[in-house]
């Protein structure tokens, strides 16, 4: 329900197996009914998140129809030519934050950005992409217990993402920006319909 009118959004499905990510996104899309849709899809080895997201959402459309979206994100480190980028999950699970810090030991250029891409496929199979990016630096050590993944080594505005609350992170994070862009699209789209 939105503005008292049934807009048939009860089938908007967020394709993810990550409960933390699901609740993070759900809290930002509180006006909509979001269902966690835990199915697998192929993530290709491309250099851009957009390519990975596009390929995935097309596969999902073919298998499960529309009214669904996915989110993919990555950490891109300037001095490492964008590594770990689209392979962030894999890098996190293998070399971890310690590995990243080691790769950057003795490096003064610690610029990095987090990027998030949301791919949405509507009921007719039309696909839209929404992105968010936040620029910061890699810290010299892990700080903070909040968040997950690379959060404790990503410095933004004097603190790491591991030091700020989820609410605070949603206001300034790549994923927060991407979800808000997606939300604006949904809002405008349904304004037109209503």
């Amino acid at each position: 329900m939105k503005n008292g009118v049934d807009i048939n959004m009860n089938r908007l499905r967020f394709v993810t197996s990550n409960k933390g990510k699901f609740y993070e996104v759900k809290s930002l899309l509180a006006d909509y009914e979001i269902e966690m849709f835990n199915v697998g899809y192929p993530e290709i080895q491309a250099s851009d998140l957009e390519d990975v997201a596009c390929y995935g959402i097309r596969y999902l459309w073919n298998e499960y129809g529309g009214n669904l979206f996915l989110e993919d994100s990555g950490l891109f480190i300037h001095k490492l030519n964008g590594f770990p980028g689209v392979f962030s999950s894999y890098a996190q699970n293998t070399i971890g934050n310690r590995g990243i810090l080691k790769l950057l030991s003795d490096e003064k250029d610690r610029r990095a950005y987090f990027k998030s891409v949301i791919a949405y496929c509507d009921e007719k199979g039309s696909i839209k992409l929404f992105g968010g990016r936040v620029d910061g630096f890699i810290s010299y050590e892990e700080v903070g217990d909040e968040g997950f993944g690379f959060d404790p080594i990503f410095l933004y505005d004097g603190r790491t993402f591991g030091e700020i609350s989820l609410d605070d992170k949603n206001k300034k994070s790549h994923r927060g920006f991407a979800v808000n862009e997606f939300k604006r699209y949904l809002d405008n789209n349904f304004k037109e319909v209503l």
Copy 2:
């Protein structure tokens, strides 16, 4: 032609865009007519080379029919939980050999292996996988100008793969083993037919 009989192998296509790899494999399959087939296919983000190869060959079968094969390989480092593994090309293009050496600085456990997987799809769409593996160590510095990729930091039998000739490498490398396994299959398969 093989054994004087036309075995209709003139359409055995090796799917790759890497000329070095093509000639390396072609030299090992000299009895067969191999054609370089430079088309793209999706490489998924899986943790096993087998999964990546299987997904790719199924895609290729659907798009281009059978009588083709692909080869995928990776370097798996014990102390780094298998990193860079299936993402070896990406790691090579971003952090490079220097990055790997940095990740292993102060590490005494330098065990690593190269693995190669060949996926072959015959005329009827039947898929077979062939594998090769070679165990060695990561060196403390880059040595040698032969080969490509991680060869100069992969120590085997006292020398790096960057120090040995292609002929020598074909005799002891992961790719050489996989191609020879594939060759045995082709040989036996066609013996049955003849």
